[in-house]
Symmetry: C3
Subunit: 286 residues, 3 copies
């Protein structure tokens, strides 16, 4: 009961039903889930409205419970069709085949194009304005690992380290950053990828923009760091890419480039496990 | 004049201009057009805001006049290019050709990916969050027929009956449900499809997930039920599909799979009429 | 300090921070940036909410400073991949090759389909509901030229003059309208296009729906008017198109159809300059 004996309670204390309570989040004004958490004391996972620096308004998922909360979902990488090699849906590499004249491919790692929806983020590629708008202190991939990226965001990072065919050679990478595991560990990460690769990488890191041995660029090695002076077969364990993968083109071209070299999900020789092949890689900022 | 003699009327009674009145709908909070109708007593067709169970907000068209109103537009199926066989724009089948290794094709009948807009729903494929979020009592296709679906929605239905190549054989279908005609009737429905087919189906029903005689899956036969022990040539009169149509692949693959087998819109032999080939099939829930 | 000595100022006069001020724009109700300017006295470039005649709400960029302001960004045309000839991303021509059976191609010049985002408008094709909803008095292309179009919009214009293969012959065009230059001039415009073309067009105009010498249709010649009784090689200096470009098909098919005939960005013979090839053409209404 409203403590002051009035017949009408102030609007703010009216009991709101579930949808009304959710819609109430539209009155929050913040640039990131971290600000929502800090300024409005929200502790519930769900969809919230965010506002960009130029006034754009969008909804996205905030993880308010993992590792202190305040995580903004900004993107997901999903291989919609392992048999389609740089075809429709490969927005994080190329939707138009493997072509050395189009070295950036779709270019979405470093531009301001957005696509997909929060609800669809685990079945399709997704990228929202937070990807380029939020200045992140931390980044999380899959909720299984965290890292500090130098007060920036991936949009800025990939402008410095282009995900572009022929932008470098085997052994060149962007930063590799140690990670913390919330779930999983070094050995589960190692097992996701083909046995032939396991001496090429070191788990416990996230690595940006590796180049493979035929100068194809990828965007993220989620959970591992290529070991210097090994074969640079990063197309089998890193994701995203530019517009050309020369080896037997277009056979290695795609969002999960060549996870299926020795068969889909077989986890033999160079092939990844079915689990990792079918996962959507969710990217969060904080 | 405001009846109490005050110089200022309450905000709610201020005369609103057209756009203001429409924008006022943003204050309604409901999960479906049926709730909008019931709770806010709206009787005008148009765009309204809806809120999903997890707080997502979207606008869609509410039909508030047909058969009592309260109908939410959740999807449309449109064949953008009859000459493009499972190419870009065939989101309700496959945008990447006909491929037995990709039996679900784009998979949009059973996932939470959304696309298109309400305004564009008659010229392009469309699917909004209502498709998976609203728990429907009834469904309407094209405003010409209605049916009761067991307290669920199509998203749930197609998880039970996958629109997937090789998910069954000729004669297997999901539920077939009698329909009511608001416009048109049994004979107009029969005439939409090729004369060679008219002894294969019975008008007056909507049928879900038929399988044809070479194990290709379709999603909806709008207006008809295949008659058991006939040839199962459902590719000529049912819409949507999985990722592979074996007969002369990819010639039968697409959102309106093989409506043009004997020429576009000829309505001879196995071909549909031009009217039905160029229609957008609008799906409403209530 | 609040002048009346109260400890609490009314909410409306509370100093709003940057995001709050931007979100405040959600309370404006208008059909165009011109109305925003006129009714709410806004003088700052940025994102504003607009409402369509049927109640649809969207955000877009308003240019409130150029030539008096009030310009609504409604579309952009961007050639995402000059090497992809009517492939994914060629939404202003055809995303499915060059095909005489599909003479309109994607048909987006005259339908109500929308795509892309304001933030992404310079790196990808973009079209918002303003394209068909706003009744424009003026139109601006690139902020470098302005014209009066007869109280309509492009959606209406292209319904009258279809951007469709075989809709006319060499010499047929829609209206050609003199332009004003804010930036640039007649000679800079002339130099954008290949030297072989410079006696075929007259700068200082915008021309709609030209037909080339093999009956391919384009949508806009931005800055020039084809001179009657010349060769009608408009594929080298006009943008957008229908679904078929016969000459060496699909080599001339695309959003910037054949700007690269003698090499990408070479500005020799029939080829355009790199500057114009890589530009996004932004369309504004007022």
């Amino acid at each position: 009961m409203w403590p002051h004996g009035d017949t009408k309670a102030p609007v703010a204390t009216t009991v709101l039903n579930h949808l009304e309570r959710l819609r109430n989040r539209a009155s929050f004004i913040a640039n990131s889930c971290k600000e929502i958490r800090d300024r409005y004391d929200q502790k519930e996972d769900g969809l919230y409205y965010l506002t960009t620096a130029n006034g754009g308004v969008y909804q996205t998922f905030c993880d308010m419970t993992t590792a202190g909360g305040g995580w903004t979902l900004v993107a997901s990488v999903h291989e919609n069709n392992m048999y389609g090699k740089c075809t429709v849906g490969d927005r994080w590499s190329s939707q138009q085949g493997s072509n050395p004249n189009w070295p950036d491919g779709d270019g979405n790692w470093a531009n301001m194009v957005t696509f997909g929806t929060t609800d669809g983020a685990t079945s399709d590629d997704f990228k929202n304005p937070g990807y380029y708008d939020i200045v992140a202190e931390d980044m999380s991939v899959w909720h299984r690992r965290f890292l500090t990226i130098y007060g920036g965001n991936l949009h800025q990072l990939f402008k410095l380290y282009p995900v572009r065919y022929n932008a470098g050679a085997c052994g060149n990478t962007g930063p590799a950053i140690p990670i913390m595991y919330d779930f999983g560990n070094i050995e589960t990460t190692r097992g996701f990828y083909g046995p032939n690769l396991r001496n090429q990488f070191e788990p416990g890191f996230i690595t940006f923009r590796p180049i493979n041995n035929v100068r194809a660029a990828m965007a993220i090695c989620s959970g591992v760091k290529p070991i210097p002076n090994t074969r640079c077969d990063t197309e089998h364990y890193c994701i995203g890419g530019g517009g050309h993968f020369p080896e037997q083109a277009p056979r290695q071209c795609g969002d999960f480039p060549s996870f299926d070299w020795n068969g889909y999900g077989t986890n033999t020789e160079w092939s990844s496990s079915k689990e990792i092949t079918e996962a959507a890689v969710l990217l969060f900022y904080r």
